[in-house]
């Protein structure tokens, strides 16, 4: 038959091979039909073209997750302004470029010997509640930090003593340059006040939580 002859593609085959014909549409020695080969090739090209459009766009949107901004230090006042038995409230810029919205408040004091801290170092506690991010206030009379939103209460060192917060208040890195106290990147602490990379409010720290709420590449290493 003519069809059989076409399938042989001009190559002479022994009668034994002829007895076992390929499926229809296949030429001798081919593993797929021409039609199928072109279908796969065109779909593959379409996939490449689609990926060329989608992947850069997705990368563009997702890139900020992996980007860490420049480390920023800001002087907030001379060393003499800060004492060890109470906090002084300072306002400084945490995020640049958005005006007042980028400012944040920290409560700063000198390290306390009674609490087992180094008196030569400064302690800067963030006013961002670790429940959901509302601003907490240091209440002098109580010696506590109190959150107005959902009633979170923290003690003098920022450890949680009541309400929904999940860990102690965040800290800022501190250093002293030319007699000025400077505040740097934010970091979080565990319930034992051990520094860890900054976490968002609502995320536990320490133990297994370090894996359930993994540190983000956009944050700075703890001191």
């Amino acid at each position: 038959m003519a069809d059989d002859a076409d399938k042989q593609n001009g190559a002479g085959a022994s009668p034994a091979e002829r007895a076992k014909p390929d499926p229809p549409g296949y030429f001798d020695g081919e593993s797929m039909t021409r039609r199928r080969a072109f279908t796969v090739a065109v779909q593959g090209l379409g996939g490449v073209a689609g990926a060329a459009i989608v992947l850069p766009a997705v990368g563009f949107a997702v890139a900020p997750i992996f980007h860490r901004g420049k480390e920023r230090w800001e002087a907030v006042g001379p060393v003499g302004d800060f004492v060890e038995d109470t906090y002084r409230q300072v306002v400084f810029t945490e995020t640049e470029g958005i005006g007042d919205a980028g400012k944040t408040t920290a409560y700063v004091r000198r390290g306390s010997k009674q609490l087992g801290e180094n008196p030569k170092e400064m302690v800067a506690v963030s006013n961002r509640c670790v429940h959901l991010g509302c601003p907490v206030r240091f209440v002098e009379a109580a010696g506590n930090f109190i959150c107005p939103c959902h009633g979170g209460v923290y003690d003098f060192q920022g450890k949680r003593i009541g309400g929904p917060p999940v860990r102690p208040l965040d800290h800022f890195q501190t250093r002293i340059r030319n007699g000025q106290v400077e505040l740097g990147p934010r970091y979080s602490v565990t319930s034992q006040l051990e520094p860890v990379r900054a976490r968002d409010p609502g995320e536990f720290t320490g133990g297994i939580w370090e894996y359930l709420y993994p540190p983000r590449p956009s944050t700075f290493p703890p001191p």
């Binding site: 900020p64 860490r68 005006g99 919205a101 959901l132 968002d200 609502g202 995320e203 956009s218």
Partner: protein, 288 residues
């Protein structure tokens, strides 16, 4: 005859065979020689009257839209269909209101951290009807969320999510999530204190999801802190990404509604078949 040449052949009365009445092909005597013809003006008027129909016919001939439209608009609905069945259309109407007012708000809004608040104040205080359009958008978002939940409740309590309408339920759930995301991203745009802190809290709630939560927060904020890129990101999601997705899914949702039809309320009982049923006549006391 001379008359024969004046009358066109099709109008001539044919001669009856075998009668020989007159010459072959001769016109009858009472045939009007000068038929009344409408004036040019009258003909133009007739054409003008038919113009809308002609235009529609032109479109219809090329799209075959009438078949689809009559099928959709005059589709049969089950007995017992009531006002609860309008909640889906009401939600769609709320979305159209949001889309329309949103387009006009975008003409005056500036998605920049330093100018967003000012541009909203400008819309509310200076622009003609600005406070009204802004108010429609602001309150309309709550209306849409409430209506979508009522619509969902109707579907659930009437059992309208069951076979073969499960896929439409799934599409509806995705639409609900998109609507909530729409409300969430839109909340930041005025960039006042309430917007700012509500977004901070909302993003932090997202962040409490284990493992991917922290990264989701960074994605939403475009960084570790809420900043300028957060606002433009929310703006782009709010007015470019989500409306397109919602419109596409509403299309799929409506297609399935028309394709599958609606359900009767659960308290409606199936009608007896209209074919003769001997048992029913026996029950009624009649002869079989």
């Amino acid at each position: 005859m001379k008359l024969d040449s004046l009358i066109p052949a099709p109008l001539r009365k044919p001669a009856k065979p075998g009668q020989g009445n007159g010459a072959k092909g001769a016109a009858p005597a009472d045939l009007k020689t000068e038929p009344e013809r409408p004036s040019d003006a009258a003909r133009l008027g007739d054409r003008a009257k038919e113009a809308p129909v002609d235009v529609l016919a032109w479109v219809d001939q090329r799209t075959a839209a009438t078949g689809f439209l009559t099928g959709m608009l005059y589709r049969k609905v089950p007995k017992g269909t009531n006002w609860f069945y309008t909640l889906g259309s009401a939600t769609l109407f709320a979305f159209i209101v949001q889309a329309t007012t949103g387009v006009f708000l975008a003409m005056f809004y500036t998605p920049s951290t330093t100018q967003a608040y000012g541009s909203i104040a400008h819309i509310n205080n200076d622009v003609f009807l600005g406070a009204f359009v802004h108010g429609m958008h602001k309150w309309g978002s709550s209306v849409m969320v409430i209506l979508i939940f009522l619509h969902m409740g109707r579907t659930f309590f009437f059992g309208a999510y069951k076979y073969p309408r499960e896929l439409n339920w799934v599409i509806g759930v995705v639409l609900l999530i998109l609507t909530m995301t729409m409300a969430f991203t839109g909340y930041l745009l005025p960039f006042d204190q309430r917007s700012f802190w509500a977004s901070v809290v909302g993003i932090n709630i997202n962040g409490t999801g284990p493992v991917i939560g922290p990264y989701l927060s960074d994605f939403l904020r475009a960084g570790p802190e809420l900043g300028a890129t957060t606002l433009s990101r929310f703006y782009a999601i709010h007015m470019l990404l989500l409306p397109g997705a919602i419109i596409a899914l509403i299309g799929a949702h409506l297609y399935l509604v028309v394709k599958l039809g609606t359900t009767a309320p659960p308290w409606m009982r199936a009608e007896r078949p209209k074919v003769a049923d001997p048992t029913s006549r026996l029950e009624a006391g009649g002869h079989p």
